[in-house]
């Protein structure tokens, strides 16, 4: 899981059975003491693998939206919640946005979710028993062994390996972040990658690197941007690697812009 704190925004991304939305009220409260008021919110997630294990307020998207609605100041008017479908029931993208006004920036966000990781690739995220290393040290080893460092070569990487397995990484590169989280256990292996960019960035190179590190059987890519320019580059980057696009859903959110949700799977599936 990861947290990024900018002067004017906070991004928090958590997995497992965390209760992420319980952070909204205390964050609004603490920001208020700094003379800051909430101007927009965006909540996204994929389909849980084990939805029955999720605690309140995450037992359903409906419950999450109700909790968010109750937590937000009334001034956030432009509200929208949507479940963006794919061809399979196990993959859909849940989005809630709200804001005080419509002011879309020129930065896009890419959120990638990968499942059924290649076993050899996933195996690199297991620690050796009693390796005697700290989480930071073991994390550095994993970053190097997997080639993760080559995804954003100019980024400063803060990595951590969990015991006995699992990995989290935050990359910081100027004012841009990237983050990776890995759950490598066979049967429910999962990895995510997320970053931000702007027009002219080599998104295709980054997508290819990510796919090559994890070699997933299935991959979903969500892009959020003011325009539709970035999403078209996703398929042209991934399909030469054997990942065929199976679905594409587009929705407009007044507080966030255009969200495009595409799913891919390898041709063996």
């Amino acid at each position: 899981s990861s947290l990024f704190v900018y002067p004017g925004k906070i991004i928090i991304k958590t997995c497992g059975t965390t209760q992420l939305l319980k952070s909204v009220r205390p964050l609004i409260h603490h920001a208020r003491h700094l003379g800051l008021s909430l101007s927009s919110v965006r909540y996204t997630r994929g389909n849980f693998i084990f939805p029955e294990s999720q605690p309140f307020p995450h037992t359903s998207f409906k419950e999450e939206v109700v909790y968010l609605e109750d937590s937000l100041p009334k001034g956030l008017r432009f509200r929208k919640a949507s479940v963006m479908p794919s061809k399979t029931l196990t993959h859909s993208w849940h989005v809630f946005t709200a804001s005080t006004d419509i002011d879309l920036g020129d930065v896009f966000t890419i959120e990638i979710c990968m499942t059924e990781l290649d076993k050899a690739s996933a195996g690199k995220f297991f620690r050796r028993p009693a390796d005697g290393k700290s989480g930071d040290s073991a994390g550095k080893d994993m970053t190097e062994a997997t080639g993760i460092g080559s995804i954003s070569p100019s980024a400063l990487i803060c990595d951590f390996a969990f015991d006995p397995c699992g990995y989290s990484m935050n990359g910081i590169d100027g004012d841009r972040y990237s983050t990776i989280h890995v759950t490598p256990e066979d049967g429910y292996s999962y990895a995510s990658f997320e970053t931000v960019g702007s027009r002219g960035d080599d998104v295709a190179r980054v997508l290819k690197k990510v796919a090559q590190v994890f070699r997933p059987a299935t991959m979903s890519v969500s892009t959020t941007s003011a325009g539709r320019e970035v999403w078209g580059r996703v398929a042209s980057a991934l399909e030469p690697l054997g990942l065929k696009r199976r679905s594409c859903a587009v929705d407009e959110f007044p507080a966030a812009g255009t969200v495009v949700y595409q799913t891919f799977s390898n041709r063996r599936k």
Partner: protein, 72 residues
């Protein structure tokens, strides 16, 4: 598929704030070095993370923002 394991799929939340003082808002938009939310003390962040059921395991920052790797 395993019957039960660790949930990999994340929940992601992004919150934007503006300053009650209009000049502060301009500075936040331009990232002109104003600390804004970065002034939140670590105890406050831990309190928020406690509600989420996470803790900080590693941290790094630069001129623009602070980054924390969390448990879970």
């Amino acid at each position: 598929m395993a019957v039960s394991g660790f949930e990999g799929f994340e929940k992601r939340l992004e919150l934007h704030f503006f300053g009650d003082d209009p000049t502060v808002m301009d500075q936040l938009d331009g990232h002109k070095g104003l600390l804004g939310l970065r002034l939140l003390d670590f105890d406050s962040l831990q309190q928020v993370l406690h509600a989420v059921q996470c803790t900080v395991v590693s941290a790094v920052g630069n001129h623009y923002f602070d980054s924390y790797v969390l448990s879970e």
